[in-house]
Symmetry: C2
């Protein structure tokens, strides 16, 4: 294959067959496109014994908008390389890439068909005790081992250049940090909360904090991030969870990945009263706050151990500095979690947690709470010194 063209199902099947030993007799293969994403074709290729792999091919445009929004297919390289790197440092919780073809912009990868999307499960009121510890392990290992603590500065600089990812970063820069804070046509605001949303546009104190978070997103290449770690990028079953969809990966602030996931747990927390009956909602909220706490506790414990044991740069091998570094990651994470709450409520890309609340009044209540809590997280992120203070803040916002 010498130039890019989009795969038919048969071509995806041939691609999978050619680059895997898994299938045996290829006459028994089937392939089916089932992507519901906006940017890619996704095929499941399967033999008659149920063995299957996924073929994910980047489209040269954003599918939801059509060919009018061109988008680099280089993101397939970014996704494949980020996943391979993260798999290297956390194989248990990163989807496995089997093969990447840079011309077809296609990735052959492990099929997680026994898993389900975390967001769907949380919205259905499911609880998984392994979620927080496993995702904490994923975050601590992938972020630590791609950071200045480990990589030589020469290697790190080369990695920063290899993962610049300007086009996809721009999407985040706009949707996360710019659009929600002005009257932008891309915003998606329900009429019931329009007045509340408008207050964001003139909240100069809040916008100053968001500017600082955006400046760090632009210019703080601490580690190789997943870059889009919401609860739709996590697959889960009864024992394990695995991260997918790393096309937004780049070198950025460690708190962004941690905060994205924390923000998604909090979005689901906020949505509970709209999604479940009162008693179930209270139980689910208790579960989610406990997971948020565990996520940070396990992450900070593992990251601290790694810093203490594996730091290669002698100048960074200082426990006082390392404690402060982690405190700053916490503060950053709280801030980015707050941004996630706000942008998922009034920005272009909503989440089903809130949007699927059928009662319009409850939905608006939850959306207002998301904006309120999002603002508090951003404004108070420097004052919160530990995760239990975050829990208190969340409970207080919820009841006040």
């Amino acid at each position: 294959m010498s130039e890019y063209k989009t795969f038919s199902a048969d071509e995806a099947m041939a691609f999978a067959d050619k680059h895997s030993e898994l299938f045996g007799d290829h006459s028994k293969l089937t392939a089916k496109e089932f992507g519901d994403g906006n940017l890619n074709l996704v095929f499941r290729v399967e033999n008659d014994k149920g063995t299957s792999l996924i073929v994910k091919q980047a489209l040269p445009y954003a599918r939801c908008v059509g060919e009018s929004w061109p988008l680099t297919t280089d993101r397939a390289r970014i996704e494949a390389e980020v996943l391979k790197m993260h798999h290297r440092f956390c194989p248990g919780h990163t989807v496995e890439v089997r093969y990447f073809d840079p011309v077809a912009c296609a990735i052959l990868m492990e099929d997680l068909k026994a898993y389900r999307i975390l967001r769907t499960e949380l919205n259905a009121g499911k609880k998984f005790n392994h979620l927080a510890p496993q995702m904490a392990k994923y975050l601590a290992n992938t972020l630590f081992y791609t950071s200045d603590f480990v990589l030589s500065s020469e290697h790190k600089k080369a990695e920063v250049a290899r993962f610049l990812n300007p086009e996809l970063c721009l999407i985040t820069e706009d949707l996360f940090f710019t659009d929600p804070y002005c009257n932008h046509e891309r915003n998606n605001i329900e009429p019931a909360i329009l007045e509340k949303a408008k207050t964001l546009w003139h909240d100069e104190a809040l916008k100053a904090e968001v500017a600082a978070l955006k400046a760090d997103f632009l210019s703080k290449p601490q580690a190789l991030l997943h870059g889009d770690l919401h609860s739709g990028s996590i697959f889960i079953d009864e024992e394990n969870c695995k991260v997918i969809d790393a096309e937004f990966g780049f070198y950025g602030p460690i708190g962004f990945d941690v905060g994205s996931l924390l923000g998604n747990l909090l979005l689901n927390y906020i949505a509970c009263p709209g999604l479940h009956q009162a008693e179930d909602a209270a139980e689910q909220q208790a579960y989610l706050l406990q997971q948020a706490e565990q996520l940070w506790q396990h992450f900070s414990q593992t990251f601290t151990e790694l810093m203490s044991r594996e730091t290669q740069d002698p100048a960074l091998d200082n426990s006082l500095y390392q404690r402060r570094f982690l405190q700053q990651v916490f503060s950053d994470a709280i801030g980015y979690a707050g941004c996630e709450l706000i942008r998922r409520t009034v920005g272009l890309a909503h989440v089903a947690d809130l949007d699927s609340i059928s009662d319009a009044g409850k939905r608006a209540d939850c959306q207002r709470l998301a904006l309120k809590l999002g603002r508090e997280l951003i404004m108070q992120r420097g004052e919160l010194s530990n995760i239990s203070q975050l829990q208190t803040l969340v409970r207080y916002q919820h009841t006040s």
Copy 2:
């Protein structure tokens, strides 16, 4: 020319003649190598009317050490491109590059033969009132116009990659932030201050702060820095000053360039009692503190005006954020100035300001003061809120 070879004087002359219209009859040209640097050949090519240009060619090794310390000649590209970029934004105070040859790794540039090196002049007790305002203009313009305030994120990311400069950054990372704080063989410590120097190696509180400054040097690509802005990189005459020697340029924290220059003014301040008679020393010190004040005042005023008028990113166009940003640059600059004081006293590369003090006792006194003030600047950089507090701190250290 198809491959790199070092120039003879005749080859440098031919190179200058070929790439400039300046000289007329080339039979009248002379060329003389006069570089006293460690990394480059430097030729002055001149005609019989006194018109001259400089040819600077990067050697593939550090000259002072010999061919055993290889060093990329790509630094000539970095130097030429940084100087061209800085000249674009501050033509009055950046040496002009006329031509760059990537194969010969040679730069043809303006000859500043009517200028003198700032360090030499300061050591001789000269005073220039235009120094601070002009260097503030240079810093504010070159750093602002290469920052996230102006560049699109896509353009900025490409620039970061174009100026990675890993080999020369590593020199700074080691000499500035690592060596002085441990018993490193590269250190150059006079016996008289060895005990004082040793306290640095076990000062965990100080090392935690230096770690944070190093982490920012590694991972805070705010703007295209000069990267080596000491008083040997500045040429000055009675009316003007111009910056040379940008081979350490890269995208880093804005405070590093500001702090390097501030640190060099303070090094000279500290050296005054060893270099001059008492009355002259007091006058020179008053001059230097006034220049340090003006450097920050003019820099912050110009940078503030530029942020207010020229910011392109709407999310960063917030005056509260901009004030805090500048406050952080101030704090960073004080910290890097402190590092400069320490590393120039006990690290590999000393400065003539201190080393040329002939009285051994006075020299040791000045060196001890440099270490003491350096530590205070690093430790207190977050508490100092304006430049007059810095002046007070300096005076206090000096007299206490």
